[in-house]
């Protein structure tokens, strides 16, 4: 490789591409496991959110999406009959980057987990 003329991996390997369906499965699994039957408690929710994000991140990291930078966003809110709208916008390369999200709800809380995978060229 000659200096000055860098080469880049412009596209991830197909097998190693960020696959929203798989990630969604992970999220679902983790969130089901951790949140089923949990009551909303404002004291615990911050740590819960953090640990959820961590575990989701670890899980997705281990899934082997090569050269992907991950952003995990976890939101837990109490369900009191209010309306909630949450949306996101990204400036990214739609060919490589993607996101997965899943929503969990029980009687007392709702949890939105969004994982954004951005490819590092």
């Amino acid at each position: 490789m000659v200096e000055g003329s860098d080469t880049y991996f412009l596209r991830p390997n197909h097998q190693l591409k960020f696959k929203p369906a798989i990630v969604k499965g992970y999220i679902r699994e983790i969130v089901r496991e951790r949140l089923s039957g949990v009551q909303y408690d404002p004291e615990n929710v911050p740590e819960l959110t953090l640990s959820l994000a961590e575990s989701v991140k670890d899980k997705v990291k281990n899934a082997g999406f090569d050269r992907y930078k991950l952003v995990v966003q976890v939101l837990i809110g109490e369900q009191r009959g209010q309306g909630v709208k949450m949306s996101s916008r990204c400036l990214w390369d739609a060919d490589t980057d993607n996101y997965a999200e899943d929503v969990f709800m029980n009687d007392s809380l709702f949890c939105v987990v969004a994982v954004f995978g951005s490819y590092y060229y």
Partner: protein, 1050 residues
Amino acid sequence: MHSEKKLTKEDTWRPAELRKHIRDKDNRDGHSRRRDDDERKHRGGQSVERRHRDPVESRPERDKERDRRHGDSRDRQRKDGSHDRRGDKDRGRRDDEDRRKRADDGRDRRETAPGKEDLRERERHRDRHKDKEKERAKVKEKHPEEDRDKRREDREKERRREEQEREQRRERRRRDESDEVRRDPTEKLHREPRDRKHRGEHEDKRRDRVVQEDRRRTEDREYKEEVRRHKEERERRHKERRRHDETHKHDSASRERQDSKQSADDVRSSRGDRERTERDKHKERRKKEEETDIERRHKERGHREAEDEDVERNHRARSGSKKSSSGKSPTYEKREEDSNPQTAGGKNGEEKAEKADLAEQEYEEDFEKLEYEEDFEDVEESADEGEDGPDVDDGKEGPPAQASKEIEAIRRAMAEENERAGSARSRHSAVREEQEDKPGGSEGSERNQGETSRRGKFIDFVAAKQREVSQKVATRQKKRSTELLRLIDLDVTATFSLLDLPPVSEYEMYIKSFGNANAKQAYVQCNEDDTDRDVQTEEIEMCEKWTQHPPEYSGACGDPNPSQEARDKTRGELVLDSQRLMSFLRSASQVMVVLLEEDQAERKSLRKLKTQKDSLSFSDGSLQLNAKLPFLLGRQISLVHFSPAQKHTMLSVHTPTATASAVRLDSCAVVCVWNIWEPSRPQQILVYGSEVQCCCFSPGKSSLVFAGTPVGSVVLWDLREHSSTHYRLKIGEDDWTFRHPTFSTDAVMCGSGHVSPVTSVEVVPSFAAGRLRPELPPLASEEESSGLSFQLASLDESGLLNFWVVVELPRGNEAGSPTDLGLRPGGKVKLLHSSSLLTVQRPSLREAAKTKPFQTLLLKYHPTDSNQFFIGTSLGLVSHGTSHGLKAPPQFYRFQEVDERTADVSAIHFSPFRPNLFLVGCADGSIRLHAVSHDRPLAEWMNSTAGEAVVSLQWAQTRPAVFCVFDAASNLHVWDMLKDDAQPVLTEKMTADRVTAMAVFGDSRQQNTYSGIALAHESGNIELRYFTQTLTVPSPAEEGKLESLLTEAF
């Protein structure tokens, strides 16, 4: 003001005290130093705050300390013994209160708490400081401008400092060192008087040295004082106090020097103190060795200072005089200059100085970070002084002047005192020092800006490398990003909706909170399948039709749509049924009508018979056919003909008329078919476009009518055709159907047809030649088997005999036949030309030459032999021919006497009883009776009609010996050969209404009474006359008479 003054006094004093203590400790021995360390640590623990919190706790120490000082101060008091001091004390007390009021320092409040003695002691202690401060203030007062200058310079320096930051820092450090060195001795001087008093046991060596130093210093000072005095005197002429001080020249001088030095030191020491305390703190934090180094160095510097002081002071004094400014501003500069001599100037302690330098360098490194703080505090203190300077000016010259002597004495003892300075003292001073930090800190905001700017610059410098590194990284990243961005496209995604949780409706919320958890709401709709529908519009029915123009009959339209075949089928079945019904009704109605009409006609005829019995002798009754029809008006009846099979069916041919009528049939000939038992109206009305020359019925059932026309065409009407397919016309109340010919050879068969007027049309008898019973009518079954196929012969004037085969098609074509153009649309019967025969053979050339053109006028077939035909000619001869096979023997039937005569044969009639006998009537009025086998007649009657042409001649159907002859003069002659074979029995003249045509009717087989003669009158009436009984009832002798005639003739 006072309090501030005091504060400044303390500020200036305390750090020096502290330093002195430190040095003392160092001087004494390592042990004491160690103890000092311990104590200092202890003191460090006993923070200002702690003192604030629990003053009692710290009191014992202080008490001890004060006790120690107590004596000292008392001694001093004794020595001073001046009233001024009292006033000072009072003032100090007041100051104390002020300070308490200010309460900016919690310590002041606490100071009131201790006992009176304590307080007094403190006050005294403070007073002493105050005195010094006052003296210094005096000096300052003398140089107010200098103060201002100093302040200005300070400011300037601050500005400059930004530029020469690092230099200054270095310089300041150096300055500090020098300050320490310079200050230490003076402080020692301060301390000495006190310490010397109650501490007898001093180390002699040390003391001696100190004293020595003191002495030397005093000398130096004297010199310097002198120099300064000039300046001072000039500036402070108005101040008596000062003069008074001058009386105590030496003391005051020394004090002045001290003051000035102190005032100069104020800045220096305060700064130096700061640094030192900082350093001390760091020292405490760090190694003791460093500490000891410093202290040692301080100590040594102290010695060195003593030596160098002279020079230094000289410099200072000189510069001060030169610049004519206060001692302070010069000291700054001087210090910078002095630093070198100081550091380098150590003669005996060179090595130590080096060590100290090393230590100093260490400090420099250590304190690099702290320099901000130092700077900060420096400025603060300088600012403090700037403020404090003028405050000190409040005239308090007295006490310092009085105490000068004492101070002078004290100063000598200072060195000793320094050595002996107890740990408690040092601790105390250290505490004060800390306190003193506070007011300084409170004013920090003044310098914030300069400081921050300096700091920013500093950060910039330090971060430069980092920045460089980060810049490198950034450029690399940028390059990478630019390269990458060329290769990829970033796009802003649409908004992903991560969560959309609609608000819970009120009802759901209600159910959630109040509803039963195990219940669910459901709904049921009953009678769900009971829906009702209604359509108001009706379905549109459609069907296809065709039509044809001209719409002469209703069959000119049809329905070709195959989807309606079912309907057609049912209709066909209906038609089938109706056909049966129709056929039944037709026959039945005919019967009924006939019965009714018979009944009516019988009654009528009975009446008529009565009425007309006179007019006609041969008839006993008559029947009037209703020929007074609108379309028959003005027409002459040219022919009346009875059907050979159905004796009651008659047709009458009406010639075209020139008179216009309502019906547009003027140019047409009309043929009416009558049933004589239904006289009220004709059964059928046949129409042809031109004249009709001759007519005949089909054999058997009279369902067809054939006609020959003058234009050479043969036409036929099929009477079975439904009347609806023909032209209907409503005239008056009655509907009349006018049938056009079903088939016509008009212009169709030009090649094979006739070119001359057709004179006769005759049906070829279908039965074989060998048929023995010609009288018997063909059976219905025979007729059926043979169908309608029979031959028709037509003869025109030129003698051409055409044979036609009548063919009935199985199915008529409603749209017309494309091949048979003569066939009417829907017609089922047509004529096929089979053969033609030229029958005219002139009897002889000779005869032919002299006679008029030969014409064939009449055609008759032998009733029992279809092979033989008889043609009447214009020469009075009857030609005999056969259709095929050998010729029959007599070729011509001639007159009796002559061969031929120019007289048309107008009538030929075979006897219904004897088929081989026939009558021939000629236009010249002669009547002949011929036998088939002989060419000569059996009998010939000339002039029986009086020369009138015979128009019609017919045998009677019921009597073999009776025949009727009608001549052109409308005379009817009835012959009865049984009665008279030479002349007619009856001759009836009907001149009133001329008769145009005549036909005999009757059934030879039944021989009923209903036989008669039909007379067509000129007026258009058709009259049926019944023969009288005599003419109708046959007698057995009649046939014998005919036999006899045959045998008689041959």
